[in-house]
Subunit: 199 residues, 2 copies
Amino acid sequence: MFLCDIGNTSYHFLKDDVDYKEDVNKFNPSCIDEIVYYISVNQNIYKKLEKLDNWIDISTKIDKTAYYDTMGIDRILACESIQDGVIIDAGSAVTIDVVNNGTFEGGFIYPGVKAMLDTYKNISPALNYEFNFDLNLDTLPKNSKDSISYAYLKLIYTEVMSLNKPIFLTGGDSFKFAKIFKNAKVDKNLIFCAMLKYI
Amino acid sequence: MFLCDIGNTSYHFLKDDVDYKEDVNKFNPSCIDEIVYYISVNQNIYKKLEKLDNWIDISTKIDKTAYYDTMGIDRILACESIQDGVIIDAGSAVTIDVVNNGTFEGGFIYPGVKAMLDTYKNISPALNYEFNFDLNLDTLPKNSKDSISYAYLKLIYTEVMSLNKPIFLTGGDSFKFAKIFKNAKVDKNLIFCAMLKYI
């Protein structure tokens, strides 16, 4: 049995406690014969998978009435996996969702690390840097690299900390963000754990 | 006499109290015979203009020792134009700079409106929206359009307000941001006013 969480850029698989990714533009889902339980926020892939009998969409088993119509199924599942806290899912987008006593309170969507770096690079070649995740967020920067790092990291840090809740970090860039959110619980497989409850 | 503030995407001219823009990729600077006093953060354009006698770079007249090496000359000029406050220059990038009793305290660089909208659209077609500048920033959103608007606007709002200083708004998108920063002083020509002091 495989579990699969399909995002905008990759299929994220879990098989026998090992997780790995495949590019959405290159991977052929019909190459797997075993049962795959999946969720997908990627509508193009979703249409392909509907035709494959061994790919089973578990989103149909989830009560989505507490959420909004266009909310990604990965965010919904993550929210369903906790009773109280903030979930930061750091992938191609960084989604931040708040659950208060088992109830979804709302959330917001920030660009992911790669997307934001590309944004700065495209604005100006003078802003073509990696982010400094070791930045001191208490001091306004005086160099270009830290000026974009501060914008990206301090602003989300302040907002998340103001929510005053336990922080759960998941997604491919969770270990980067763990440098900023030092007290967060990091669980790369949060979505997979949530999926298992519905199988 | 023309004044010109050259950014990453456009030449911004002021001539006889009328300001207008020309695309950096299309405009030919040698078509102007009159004197043009200019600043440029665009290195490619800067190299062209050095060869034209009637284009006079006023950045050479400014004492930059209080700033950092790679800081844009437009930001430096804006800082030189105030004694105390936060300057938000909302163009292709949104630069936020803090001046405290005439001294530059540091700043950061956030993507501009268009750059950030493109970023979301490129992450997923499901995030292809305009920002809602009328959003209530006190409530966590429960729809996709507001989820990206909140991320873009609330985070910068909180950071700027935490600085607890008078706010000066300039740049092409200053009127959009004025909806968020309701007490800001909006001056689209802040940079031009600062330039005039050096002529």
